[in-house]
């Protein structure tokens, strides 16, 4: 272990890892460059665009603003952890159904933010969806389709739960 490295233990998508990471590397750096989880995207690197959104202990965070060492002992979920094999998550399927995916670069972060939103607000109204996704920029401008996808995923969750 180099002088500027620390050993961390993290669970990424339920996979427990022990890594020596540079103290200045962000969680995003480690996910993409060390673990090869390139589904998490880098854009602004200052916490404004949301492309790097992952769940840290179940909460949505900008992984560009979290040092990897801060994730020590915690659980990380990335976009790669949402689908069950070939089976898309309800949200992912809704994004496709509603035509919410254009260039796709913002979509992993968008899906993670939406996932977090539905985890704490299973029945969001339109304003709550807009608020919940307002930290994720989409330049293709598919916000209506994205918000519609989140609403669809929420309603299909109800249907599956027999509500």
């Amino acid at each position: 272990m180099a002088a500027d490295e620390l050993r961390i233990r993290i669970a990424v998508n339920d996979d427990r890892r022990e890594l020596d990471v540079a103290v200045h590397h962000t969680l995003l750096d480690v996910l993409r460059d060390r673990l090869g989880l390139t589904g998490t995207k880098e854009c602004c690197a200052e916490g404004e665009c949301g492309a790097c959104t992952v769940l840290l202990d179940g909460r949505a965070v900008n992984s560009c603003l979290i040092l990897a060492v801060e994730a020590d002992g915690r659980e990380v979920t990335t976009i790669e952890g949402l689908a069950d094999g070939d089976r898309l998550s309800r949200l992912q399927a809704a994004f496709l159904e509603r035509g919410a995916v254009q260039c796709g670069f913002c979509i992993p972060g968008m899906v993670m933010s939406a996932h977090y939103l539905l985890s704490h607000t299973p029945h969001p109204d339109a304003a709550e969806i807009r608020e919940g996704l307002s930290g994720n920029l989409c330049r293709c401008g598919g916000y209506n389709q994205i918000c519609s996808a989140v609403a669809l995923a929420a309603s299909t969750a109800d249907a599956e739960a027999g509500e």
Binding site: A22, R32, D33, G36, L37, T38, G39, T40, K41, E42, C43, C44, A45, E46, E48, C49, A51, T78, I79, E80, L82, A83, L88, Q92, A93, F95, L96, E97, R98, G99, V101, Q102, C103, G104, F105, C106, I107, P108, V111, I129, R130, E131, L133, S134, G135, N136, L137, C138, R139, C140, G141, G142, Y143, N144, Q145, I146, C147, S148
Partner: protein, 791 residues
């Protein structure tokens, strides 16, 4: 029965789908929610909202973008730039940078060939690295290559540059001032160029009739400005180059891989075939990724070091690499008392950056249609592309057309106000009807749609004649853009032995969904399903030549090439059937999916099984579509079609803060035929969102002294978020199957933002009475206008 049900299935005997002149059907009603429409025929993929090809990969994070790619032994590059626009470079000391462990190389202009290689799509003016002086904030003076990103970052900070800041040209006024410093050294310009001792890169004079002799009852004269904005694709630009046997391979976020291939070959003096460009689907482009930026430099570094070299720009560096031009449009419009246009007298100045990129064409092409989609008896249009010490301006969705509409549509509003006419009515009175010239006397494409249908549809959606709630204002405006004036798209379609097909097409799918569209067309023409078609793009060694992905051309140009390649496949299948079964060729008919012989029908698979036997085989077809190049035409050719759209908006303005609330917003685009209605809606709504950003919030702010960009990055340069979406928003289409593309389609993708600004501004004026002529319409500007209006 819906409009779509009545539409006949495309006839296989008319593979080109050429327009049926003058055909006009009743306009389809508003699309239902989610824009789902019934299919034309039970099996046809055309007109259906097929789910985006590549959607699953994008939704699961497995879609590979350039920055996600990794090659063994890759070295990492980092650019070195100064904190000022223009500075004379006195010395560059790389010693501290070279001392960083893992640093392989620090390259400055002195380490590059002399004379410095320069490149660009129109003018070969951009150096690989700044030489002598920097000309814009962000122009690299050196590049560091190291084993790791960390080492490259650290070393880039340690390159010591002694530089003397110099006065910079930053505005249109400064660029036009003869006493300003010259951005471009005259010796770098054509010795016969009469403008070489000025900051005017090029100028054009368009027009017809005699403006000075034209008679008008009312003359309205104003200056409209539109600030520089940036593309802000969420994927920052990324590049990688690697030695490839006796050539070089490039990976880039580029929109135009074949232009890049040609340019790198020229820069390195390699045969074109020895440069292979991989162009993975970009993560948004919007024009900003059309042309080469740092690929030639990386190619040179990769060959020098014998290793792959990678450069991923930061978002800030991306802002410094691309922007749209700044516009100042002085427009003098004559009207008769009935509201008809008598003349337009326009001076259009577009401020480019230090290097032309494709900015000069943005300015000239958009200004060519500066009179809009109207009947204009007399016109004079004087256009200048000006150089400045700012980042190179390039194509940006709409290619200058939204800025033209900002001027000519705001004039229409002012004419309506001063003449006491309705703002909708004055537009309908002037709008060119199908077949009427909008640019006169040059043989240009006349009006090619029932444009009034789009205007009426937008007016109906917004409830133009309905009473306005207190404090609300409504606006409506039209926009027009000349699509591709030239073009050359080639496609190869391989029909495989199981009846599935591979389409090779050089189009870039940067979010618009070209892969899906081309698969739909191939599936239709071969009588198979979309999920049995694979579309291969993004590799110049595999897919045949495509001039470029721009100007909403791909459905029309590449779509037709694919359609023709499929027709070629069918022709070869007919020959195959004729020889296999010993039947005269005229007795064989091949329709999508079916081979018709005199006594029976076969599937393609059955024919190929009989013809090829156990060794198998495939049938390969090729097709192309080219646009004529007219050397004498100012734009090099006639528009293949026009993108026409109408925007209507309803807003409320907070008088205390100047903030605009977008209540309702609709775009109506004349698309000929929506081959994939969901994708059309995605494109048009997306364009509208970008248009709203450019209208209300976006502008690059340059420090008046240093030329530094003050709002680099996502914190300080705001683009719309979910919270900026109009409360109610719709994207509608007019479909008359009158486009030159497959099945009567036209291109779309830019339509939604062509007239955003004048529509929203018109609504603001309607709500408040104040008139604004400078974009963006920030709360501060609106608040100041409201304050100044008060007695």
């Amino acid at each position: 029965m819906t409009d779509a049900d009545r539409r006949p299935a495309p006839a296989a005997s008319e593979p080109d789908g050429h327009p049926r002149a003058g055909r006009s059907e009743a306009i389809a009603g508003s699309l239902p929610e989610h824009h789902e429409r019934p299919s034309t025929a039970a099996e046809s993929p055309i007109g259906r909202s097929i789910t985006r090809s590549g959607g699953v990969e994008r939704a699961t994070g497995s879609q590979p973008y350039v920055a996600d790619l990794h090659l063994d032994g890759t070295l990492h590059a980092r650019l070195v730039h100064l904190d000022v626009a223009r500075a004379r470079i006195r010395s560059i000391d790389p010693s501290a940078a070279l001392a960083v462990p893992g640093v392989r190389l620090v390259v400055t202009a002195d380490d590059l060939p002399d004379p410095m290689p320069r490149f660009g799509p129109g003018y070969a003016d951009r150096p690989l690295l700044a030489t002598g002086e920097t000309k814009y904030h962000g122009e690299p003076v050196a590049v560091v290559v190291a084993d790791t990103v960390d080492a490259a970052d650290e070393a880039a900070r340690l390159v010591r540059v002694e530089a003397e800041p110099m006065p910079a040209v930053l505005t249109i006024e400064q660029a036009l001032d003869p006493s300003s410093p010259l951005v471009r050294e005259p010796e770098l310009r054509d010795p016969d160029d009469p403008l070489r001792a000025s900051n005017t890169l090029a100028e054009w004079r368009f027009g017809w009739g005699d403006v000075d002799a034209a008679v008008a009852d009312r003359v309205i004269e104003n200056v409209y400005t539109a600030a520089a904005t940036t593309h802000f694709a969420i994927e920052p630009h990324a590049f990688m180059a690697a030695p490839d046997r006796d050539g070089v391979a490039i990976w880039s976020t580029i929109q135009h891989p074949y232009v890049l291939q040609r340019l790198v070959a020229a820069t390195l003096d390699l045969p074109v075939a020895k440069v292979r460009v991989f162009a993975p689907d970009p993560g948004g482009a919007f024009g900003g990724k059309q042309h080469a930026k740092y690929e030639p430099l990386l190619a040179l570094l990769a060959l020098r070091l014998g290793h792959p070299v990678r450069l991923v720009l930061t978002l800030e560096e991306t802002f410094q690499a691309v922007r749209g031009p700044t516009f100042g449009i002085h427009i003098r419009s004559g009207f008769r008392s009935d509201g008809t246009i008598a003349f337009q007298d326009i001076e259009s100045n577009g401020l480019l950056g230090a290097y032309a990129d494709i900015g000069h064409r943005v300015v000239s092409k958009s200004s060519y249609l500066a009179c809009g989609p109207y009947r204009t008896p007399d016109a004079r249009i004087h256009v200048r592309a000006l150089l400045s010490h700012t980042p190179p301006a390039t194509a940006l969705r709409g290619f200058g057309s939204p800025q033209m509409a900002w001027a000519f549509e705001s004039q229409m509003d002012e004419a309506a106000r001063t003449l006491g006419l309705d703002r909708l009515e004055i537009r309908l009175r002037n709008l060119a009807r199908r077949g009427e010239e909008i640019v006169r006397g040059a043989g240009d494409t006349p009006a090619d749609g029932e444009w009034a249908q789009a205007v009426r549809k937008a007016a109906a959606w917004i409830g133009w004649d309905a009473p306005r709630p207190a404090g609300h204002g409504r606006g409506l405006a039209v926009g027009i853009k000349s699509s591709a004036t030239t073009g050359a798209s080639y496609a190869i379609v391989r029909l495989l032995h199981d009846g599935s097909a591979t389409v090779l097409a050089g189009t870039s799918d940067m979010g618009q969904g070209a892969r899906t569209l081309l698969a739909q067309i191939a599936a239709q023409e071969l009588g198979t399903s979309v999920d049995r078609v694979a579309v291969v793009m993004g590799d110049t060694a595999t897919a045949p030549y495509d001039m470029q992905t721009s100007a909403s051309r791909s459905t029309v140009f590449m779509g037709t090439a694919v359609q023709r390649a499929c027709a070629d496949v069918r022709a070869r299948l007919a020959e195959l059937a004729s020889t296999t079964y010993g039947i005269p060729l005229p007795d064989v008919e091949v329709l999508p999916g079916t081979v018709r012989l005199p006594d029976r029908r076969l599937t393609f698979v059955e024919l190929m099984a009989d013809a090829f036997g156990p060794m198998l085989g495939e049938v390969i077809g090729s097709g192309s579509r080219r646009g004529a190049y007219l050397a004498d035409h100012p734009l090099g050719g006639h528009a293949a079609f026009y993108e026409f759209s109408c925007t209507a908006s309803e807003v409320a303005v907070d008088p205390e803060t100047g903030e605009v609330r977008l209540l309702r917003h609709v775009t109506v685009s004349d698309v000929g035929r929506a081959l994939n209605p969901t994708q059309v809606a995605m494109q048009d709504e997306g364009a509208a969102m970008m248009g709203l950003g450019q209208t209300l919030m976006e502008h690059l702010v340059f420090d008046a002294d240093s030329g530094r960009i003050e709002n680099l990055g996502a914190l300080d340069y705001r683009i719309p978020t979910t919270k900026d979406v109009p409360l109610e928003m719709a994207s509608l289409v007019v479909e008359n199957e009158d486009g030159p593309g497959p099945y009567g389609s036209k291109g779309t993708g830019e339509s939604g933002l062509l007239s955003t600004a004048p529509a929203v501004a018109s609504a603001i004026t309607d709500a408040t009475g104040v008139v604004l002529r400078d974009l963006p319409l920030t709360p501060e500007r609106i608040w100041r206008a409201l304050r100044d209006r008060r007695p």
